[in-house]
């Protein structure tokens, strides 16, 4: 039993640290205490892996402890709801995913936060979304795919989540080519890949890192990157195959609303320095990601532009009023 109590004491201390009991300092001596880096997803996911990669560099550059915590639920909404209610002193920062933070408030009345409450600091990673069919399929190009989708037989496409990056890519493709297909959502990228590999759906929308991992088992028709994707140089972009849209899940970091500009600037510089680090970029490329380094202003413009674009697509498809 003694062991139990020791563990309890450690757990209790950990919780006190995690919840950030203590007082925050002003902007001039930031950071004056442990910085909590909240991940709105579970441990071991891509957001976590990225944060873990940054952690030692953040600690060194900010000269303070960085504590990664998980606030999982409702596709990230629980974590972002917490973010917008936190103290704006820079000691609570959170991972931020696009398009999640745009689509959740757009499609749900009770998401718990609004997109403009998310105060972006930087974007450091992109995950272009690609469309793939099985390796042994007769469909070889995007043109074949569209022909097949128009042939009268209903095609099914697997993807991760509803009103997610994959769902949006599906909607944009359907809208542009005027196709009638069925989207089969799963509760995670791994489940959706499994559905596809098991032959349950005709095609799959998958993240670039999964496309790289499973490239032997699939024929990748096109990818939602803006230009040729470095890890898959032979795959055309949707724009090159004639569908004018991009699809990507971008990861960044954000702070609560009304955070002091000086603090945001410190964080922005730190995150951009890490994002521009050559070894970090090389690791990302090897794992199938696109290293990005977008500062605060650029990130905000990116969010605004995508918000407009998504709203138009959703309106045209009658998903929102």
């Amino acid at each position: 039993m003694k062991r139990h109590f020791q563990f309890t004491a450690i757990a209790a201390t950990a919780i006190l640290v995690v919840t950030g009991c203590g007082t925050g300092g002003g902007a001039s001596n930031y950071p004056s205490e442990t910085v909590t880096y909240s991940i709105p997803f579970g441990p071991g996911g891509q957001s976590d892996v990225e944060a873990r990669r940054q952690e030692p560099m953040l600690e060194e550059k900010l000269d303070t402890d960085v504590n990664i915590t998980y606030k999982e639920g409702a596709g990230g909404a629980v974590g972002w709801t917490e973010l917008v209610g936190e103290q704006p002193d820079g000691h609570f920062i959170s991972g931020m995913n696009i398009p999640h933070i745009i689509l959740q408030p757009m499609t749900q009345d009770d998401a718990g936060y609004e997109t403009d409450q998310i105060n972006p600091v930087a974007i450091f990673q992109g995950t272009p979304i690609g469309l793939a069919v099985p390796a042994d399929s007769d469909i070889e190009t995007m043109d074949d795919f569209i022909e097949e989708a128009n042939s009268g037989e209903q095609m099914t496409i697997s993807g991760s989540g509803t009103y997610s990056g994959h769902h949006l890519a599906f909607m944009q493709l359907s809208n542009i080519e005027d196709l009638d297909m069925e989207y089969v959502p799963s509760t995670g990228a791994a489940e959706s890949i499994q559905n596809f590999l098991g032959g349950n759906t005709d095609a799959v929308f998958a993240n670039s890192n999964d496309l790289v991992t499973y490239k032997e088992d699939m024929n990748i028709l096109a990818i939602g990157a803006e230009e040729t994707f470095e890890a898959l140089p032979e795959v055309p972009t949707f724009q090159e195959t004639g569908q004018d849209f991009t699809a990507s899940i971008d990861r960044g970091v954000a702070v609560p609303p009304d955070t002091d500009e000086e603090i945001i600037q410190t964080l922005e510089e730190t995150f951009l320095e890490i994002a521009n680090d050559e070894s970090v970029q090389e690791e990302m490329i090897n794992e199938g990601f696109e290293p990005l380094a977008m500062g605060r202003e650029e990130t905000q413009e990116h969010i605004d532009q995508l918000s407009e674009e998504y709203e138009e697509t959703m309106r045209e498809l009658g998903e929102i009023e």
Partner: protein, 501 residues
């Protein structure tokens, strides 16, 4: 041959062995605490493994996984509260054994069957991975739906007494599982405008609420009632030998539990909880003498624990062969691989053969380490029940509140725990067993996602019915469901004809 040499070389490093033992022991402690799960234990340890070499890191995390799944049975046996969802079925016969003053017998049974189940799971991982991975891909949405329905037919076995109350309990569980964002379609359900409810109710929190809180209230209420007292624990001689004979006399029971554990394990989405419940259910139904189940039957504990530790091996199959996690703790291990710079996926065996075979061999060894630790520990762990209620009850409540908060760092979960704990107490006083409610909570989302996806997929071929009957595994599962529903009547019919003769 070269690969065997390299595996042995890496396993014979003293540090690797020390970390393995440490991992198993730490996992057992965390698993024993209600609310702290295997997933959490691995996640907490994850940062410490970064600085280790890849093989040591994987072995440590694997040890924690194995230890935590076993540890769950400790709380299940001693205080009638599953330490992790995997040991729900262990409470049915484990706790009655404690009430009779024989917690060591239950603990050692659990240790032996977990150890054997775990080793069988490990051997399957070592020799059958490519085969099992192909089977894993055969499980799609229709199979998920029907396996969940098969699970729901277990209500009959789990409702201890009144079938009607069991069905009502199961329905309550299903309804509670629907709160929050729909897995398919994304609409928010039963949130009544509270964004806190969007994430739904966390299974672990509900597990503590329905099992633990009512149990603690009962403990406090019955403090002075001599008829309700748990017999105090006195060490017996020869328990280990007794248990080994009991378990080894029933090779089919352990083998069947292990096979069920492995198969459920390779199915992503269904974890040790489903495995141990299905195995318990099968054991009860297939036994000639069912009268002692629920009253402290060794077979019940063995069925549950043999399955849930074999499930660990099964859940690693899709991870190692396909890069797809078979259970939530396996998902965290994927994170550990990524952070070691290893890309999990179809080429893992080819590119990192030595590492993977080292891991699997260590995995089998870890199960033996667990068996030894658990047998030696059971003497001391069993003494927990001798702690007076006025110490034990507040300690349990304190631990559960911390645990429920720590799962998602969410205060809403603490409120949920208290509210549903009180509801759970009222229900249990009225004769509603907690197991069917939790069963509904576990299987509701699996059934819903499976059915919704099946309907969407069937749009492609035109008919849901055609989709179901065109898949062999689905047909088998449907037949099992029918058998399971009819089995009480078939049993009665057989008895009737026998007496007539």
């Amino acid at each position: 041959m070269e690969i065997i040499q390299e595996v042995l070389a890496s396993l014979s490093q003293p540090f690797t062995i020390i970390y393995m033992i440490f991992g198993v022991a730490a996992g057992m402690v965390v698993g024993a605490l209600p609310g702290l799960t295997a997933t959490m234990a691995i996640a907490v340890m994850l940062p410490f493994t970064f600085s280790m070499p890849a093989d040591t890191a994987l072995i440590t995390l694997g040890g924690i996984y194995i230890g935590a799944i076993f540890g769950g049975c400790i709380a299940a046996i001693l205080i009638n509260t599953p330490g992790t969802p995997s040991s729900i079925a262990t409470t049915f016969d484990g706790y009655p054994m404690t009430q009779q003053g024989k917690p060591d017998r239950a603990l050692i049974t659990a240790a032996v069957s977990s150890g054997i189940g775990g080793v069988i799971g490990g051997l399957a991982l070592l020799f059958l991975t490519p085969l099992l991975a192909a089977l894993a891909l055969k499980f799609g949405p229709p199979e998920f739906f029907w396996i969940a329905i098969l699970g729901l037919t277990m209500v009959a076995t789990l409702s201890s007494g009144s079938l009607l109350k069991g069905l009502i309990g199961g329905t309550i569980g299903l309804l509670l599982s629907m709160v929050g964002l729909a897995p398919i379609g994304g609409s928010s359900r039963f949130t009544f405008g509270f964004s806190q409810l969007q994430a739904g109710f966390e299974l672990i929190v509900m597990l503590i609420a329905f099992f633990c809180i009512p149990q603690v209230i009962k403990m406090i209420k019955n403090q002075k009632d001599p008829t309700e007292q748990v017999q105090s624990f006195q060490q017996e001689k020869g328990v280990i030998g007794y248990v080994f004979r009991q378990v080894i006399m029933r090779p089919f029971l352990i083998l069947r539990s292990a096979v069920m554990g492995i198969i459920v394990g390779i199915i992503p989405g269904a974890g040790g909880n489903v495995a141990s419940l299905l195995s318990y259910d099968a054991t009860v139904r297939l036994s000639k003498d069912q009268s002692t189940f629920g009253k402290g039957d060794v077979r019940g504990v063995a069925a549950s624990e043999g399955a849930n530790n074999a499930e660990v091996g099964g859940s690693l199959v899709p991870l190692l062969a396909l890069g797809i996690p078979g259970a939530p703790p396996a998902a965290v291990i994927i994170g550990a691989l990524l952070m070691q710079g290893i890309q999990p996926g179809p080429n893992l065996f080819e590119e990192n053969g030595v590492l993977i075979y080292t891991f699997i061999t260590a995995f089998i060894l870890s199960n033996i380490v667990m068996l030894v630790l658990a047998i030696f520990g059971s003497k001391y762990i069993g003494k927990v029940i001798n702690i007076p209620t006025y110490y034990l009850a507040p300690a349990i409540v304190f631990l559960t509140i911390i645990g429920s908060y720590a799962i998602r760092n969410n205060f809403t979960d603490v409120v949920t725990l208290i509210v549903f704990g009180l509801i759970g107490y009222v229900l249990s006083e009225r004769g509603f067993a907690p197991a069917p409610i939790v069963l509904g909570l576990i299987l509701g989302p699996i059934a819903e996602e499976g059915l919704s996806q099946s309907i969407l997929i069937s749009d492609g071929i035109g008919d849901l019915f055609v989709l179901f009957v065109s898949r062999p595994i689905t047909i088998i599962l449907i037949l099992f469901c029918i058998l399971s529903l009819l089995s009480p009547y078939i049993g009665k019919l057989l008895k009737k004809t026998k007496t007539q003769e």
